[in-house]
Amino acid sequence: MGTDVPLACLSDRPQPLFNYFKQLFAQVTNPPIDPIREELVMSLISYIGTERNILDEAPENCHTLKLPHPILTNRDLEKLRRVSSGDLLATTLQALFRAEDGEDGLRHSLEDLSDRASHAVNSGYTLLILSDRGVDATHAPIPSLLAMAAVHNRLVREKTRTQVALIIESGEPREVMHFALLIGYGASAINPYLAIETIHDLKHRGLLPADVTAEKAEYNFIKAINKGLLKTFSKMGISTLQSYRGAQVFEAVGLNKSLVDAYFSGTASRIEGVGLGVLAREAQMKHAYAFQPLTDSETELVVGGHYQYREGGEYHLINPLTISKVQHAVRTNNPATFQEYTDLIDGQNRNLCTLRGLLKLKYDEQPIPLEEVEEAKEIVKRFTTGAMSFGSISKEAHETLAIAMNRIGGMSNTGEGGEDEERFKRDANGDLRRSAVKQVASGRFGVTTNYLVNADELQIKMAQGAKPGEGGQLPGHKVDEVIAKVRHSIPGVGLISPPPHHDIYSIEDLAQLIYDLKNVNPQARIAVKLVSEVGVGTVAAGVAKAHADVVLISGDSGGTGASPLSSIKHAGLPWELGLAETQQVLLLNDLRSRIKVQTDGKLQTGRDVVIAALLGAEEYGFATMPLISMGCIMMRKCHLNTCAVGIATQDPVLRARFQGQPEHVVNFFFFIAEQMRQHMAKLGFRTVDEMVGRVDKIDAAIAHAHWKAKGIDLESILYAPTLPSRVARRCVQAQDHGLAAALDHALIAKAEPTLDHHTPVTGAFNIRNVHRTVGAMLGGEIARRYGSAGLPDGSLHFRFTGSAGQSFGAFVPSGVTLELEGDTNDYLGKGLSGGRVIAYPPKTSSFLPEESILVGNVVLYGATSGEVFLNGIAGERFAVRNSGATAVVEGVGDHGCEYMTNGLVVVLGATGRNFAAGMSGGIAYVYDDAGDFPTRRCNKASVDLEPLVISEDIEKVRGLLERHRDLTGSPRAAWILEHWADAQPKFIKVFPHEYKRVLGVARPSEVAKRAEAPANSSPRVAAAEVQHG
């Protein structure tokens, strides 16, 4: 459940310098990449040494050292240290300082190190190794990142930086983030000698499995770091190490300006903070601890407690005391116990943890009477629970949240997992289990038209708090019958959510999706969820201009527990920063009045919410605390499916142990609302509306006594631009989504007899590219009336002539056929929910359809059922995240059928590269005329390739080809059918492994194993078995 430890700049414990930085990630500006499934675009290769003038094509330009990846073993480094060959000449510079000299010693040593580096460059060395070996009782290591940055900056200033490569030899780095930072600030290679030596020591002590040698362990460690680095770059949409090196894709939290300007220039650091003195003191503290004389008994290291809670270790907001107090309070409905719990959180004087802990509320001299303050039952309507999918949490937990939020008039969120339709109707006892907010995430699981119309808000998740810039994965063992049904997938098949939405690569694309969703459900609010980082204000402004009704700014400390640790700890910023920036940017651009701003991220007390309101939020999200109210005790084993209290698990045995009640959640929210009222009375506010954006009621009270916090300056959070009074501080008007101009109004008018009386109707329309999202509003109308069943096949048949705009045929349900003579832009059939889309070039055209591009990119994204027949070639990512639609097309671009989980795709021509990446279900048939599909075009990591020989398959393919020929007049389909005997052998069946397993079909490797196994069977029998395969 995210991170709940103090920011590095507030923690009493000495922190590695690495912890003062946070990774940046792509958010709307550009898409993040999936480094696993799209490995082919990723690279860790770099060429290090002197960088010469790239416009000079001389042989010397190639005199560099090629590294397959940036991690050097101890042996590699020794080889490098002794290299002296042509232009490659290495020298080692020690990066230590005299511990007792403190800040002056550190500064002096940094200067000295930079002098020596400068001198080395002038002497002709091209590889500088900055080393902290040689630590002793007098000398402490200079933090490797600081040494790196100091030398880097000196050489930049002297205009000699490109002449050398900087290499780090340090005992410090051991986590992915550490390496990412060193590389981000210029390191060409890193030798983490202490980590490596620790691994060898583990082997030496017998703590590694017998079959893992020390070398193998070392190799595994390096491989893990490399994979982690790829993951880190990909969050920003960067695919190569060479691009990431020196790019400084980080933000600092709590480093002061002079430190940043001197060593990390260009890095955003918005709240000032510590300087070199604190860094020196932290280094001294660690040095003193390391060198204190030991007794034999004191050989255990300090407990740490950063990841798992330990007494005497790092402070955690969520600890045994706060968890048990809040649970006691909500279970016995005891406000006094709740106050004890919030006092623990709010009273952060001793344990500085969050930025909001540093703020003070400016109460009025005379409070207003509490009775005059807005009632709690009105305030709770502003609360929402976070997006935790059914799948990550159990049915019982998910429904309890929905029931509770519906009772109080707030909103619960489906998360990414779709929703069982039976929850859309009220239960006999009056409970409503329908989630008011339906999330549209990158996996588009269960996003059907019916799903979308049964919502009060449709939330587009651009990024998520705990792991911004990443997708996610629901492991196969957590996907049971029920979850698979709701997600329109197959039990046992792992479900991958891609990092980006494949229909959002830019702000314009986001505007398109907002438009798509508003068309399907014009009554619903369309929300966009962003994560706090520097620049989120600008993105939020774009979101507002793209006509989103709500923008959610998520902080870094919330989010799922089942997230990689590197992301939980090092990506994303606190919501205070993101919210303040968003509010300021929206105000300055007069956009604030037309969009609601929501925030979340470990909101735990009435005071937290009041501060959020004063900083500009009018709605508030909670996830961790409602879960704890239902029984969560933060075991952090969510990813193992062993949640002992039945919340984050699908295991029926454990689910039976769930003891949460909607009342507990309701109590929690009413407690929060009552606390808010107390604060509001003292602040002089009668309504929450009055409070929104009133930063003048906050004082940035700095904890002067604290050795780190005294450098922090929060004035930037409290900045309120002077604006004319007509510029409202909160949402006062609705967005104009431009729906009036939609072509669908005409379609719906035409379809009235069908909608009312089921009379079949046909129609013909001209279409131009300004007609976007054609079919979606009609589809929404049908779903509202007829649910997921839609209309009978053939009820509506509309013909279009012309060039269709984006999202043609999006979210079209059963019973609707759209036929297009012309061509389309991107996103044809997005979210197809049972309808049929047919497209072919103009009858009068003279080009060959099978060789011409007919439709754009990202066709059938998230489609769950329905059919598409395309007489032409489609662009990239055809049928990405297809969950059940059938398609025939005559050629596709790269990444076809990516992440497909179900459905049937037939490609009658060449595909691009990386076909079937991450494909875990459904089947594709590719007509491989050129013969290079298996070797050059298909990503075989998750699929087997087979010939088309099984009779059922042949019938299916032929049947589809016949329909394709009949519906589109496709010459290619006709030809293949006529020459079937020659054509059949060229078809390749693309069959995912997981799908095979689920269907009970054995794979070739398993068959071969079985053939080898029986020792006493005759060779002839064995051979016969293999043949039948």
Partner: protein, 481 residues
Amino acid sequence: MGKVTGFLEIQREQPTRRKSDERIRDWFEIYEPFPEEKQREQSARCMDCGVPFCHTGCPVNNLIPDWNDLAYTGRWEAAIRRLHATNNFPEFTGRICPAPCEAACVLGINQPAVSIKLIERSIVERAWDEGFIQPEPPVQATGKKVAVVGSGPAGLAAAQQLRRAGHTVTVYEKADRIGGLLRYGIPNFKLEKHVVDRRINQMRAEGVKFETNAHVGVNIPVDQLTDQYDAILLAGGAEHPRDLKIPGRELKGIHFAMEFLPQQNRRNEGETVPESLAILATGKRVLIIGGGDTGADCLGTSHRQGAKIVHQWEIMPKPPEQRASSTPWPLWPLQLRTESSHEEGGIRDWSINSIRFTGDADGNVTQVHAVRVGPPPKFEPVTGSEFTTDVDLVLLAMGFLGPVKNGMIDQLGLALDPRGNVHCDTSYMTSKEGIFAAGDMRRGQSLVVWAISEGRKAAAAIDNYLAAKTESLRQVHRIHA
């Protein structure tokens, strides 16, 4: 961590106890051995919680998830190091601690808790058996001298910590043997005394000096300590018992538990208690007033001495069979506990207040007159519920009010807190500079595990205090409490 699915696959198990009628014939510990394979199975049930409530619930903050995993993987030497990092005497707590850790265990929310105490005991006993536990004398002497008054678990823990930090430590014990309540008070069947001796021997080898029959404030003047030592720790316990001043109290045969129990400890050492002083339950009708652990100790002791019949009465109402809703998880539960002594016999009863004793012509008690009462705080007598029970021996086990005052505490002129315990600041220092207090003497009567916690923390405070006063000590490591 144990095993990820351990808690789903393995049930909680405890070692079996020897049969009641067999075990009351001797004074040895009552548990059968528990095989290693089962020990490891039990440690597999630990879920390595992200927030380990057991660890916080334990007064010494044992690193329970860590050593559960080490026990599960059979890394016994690493396990004892991890255990010793927080607890000087796991062999004591592993036998007699009521285990607040298990009450707080997350698995205990809806399943039987992890058998933490059993694992702690398994680790430490294995360590002694394999020779992992050796003396750990300090590498460097500080030149500072510390006196510890009282050799119970608080004093001993502090002494060991201080000695290992390099200070010269002398423990003053008023009794003839070392151990405080560990030696004289806790019955042998709960804690055999060779277990105590084994640990004391380690401490002697580490250089801790012990003075027995040294009663500070009685035969050792307090200024002998204040003159000689750089710091003094008072860990003399809370020995002042709560009395029952009702008519007939002066009759013969009515004794405090702490007059009765230590006699049996001595007999078990081979000593003879003179008949004129002996308090024995043999053949008698015994009444134990007090339903706590001391009372249970009296019960087991009475059984083994061959009492005719034993009653145990408590003034509070009978606790519920399951955790009371007023003490929800993870708090220490108000719940009916059946100790080993209760299994052996005796008749327990609750909500009873004794009103007077009556005796025979020789001044021996023969009857107790009692009445049933309502719940606290009023304990209203229930009209018409008066009754009488025949008794020959009455043992008062009603708790302890605080340290004994007229002695070293008064002589040192130390301030007391409102409850009558020695008052200390947040660094365990009393109102007199350089004099510290820890354990029951500071906290009031409590558990052995709390005493160990107190001793460790006080030792850290004393070490800080000595270092602050001495330039040369500033670089010396600090004791981790």
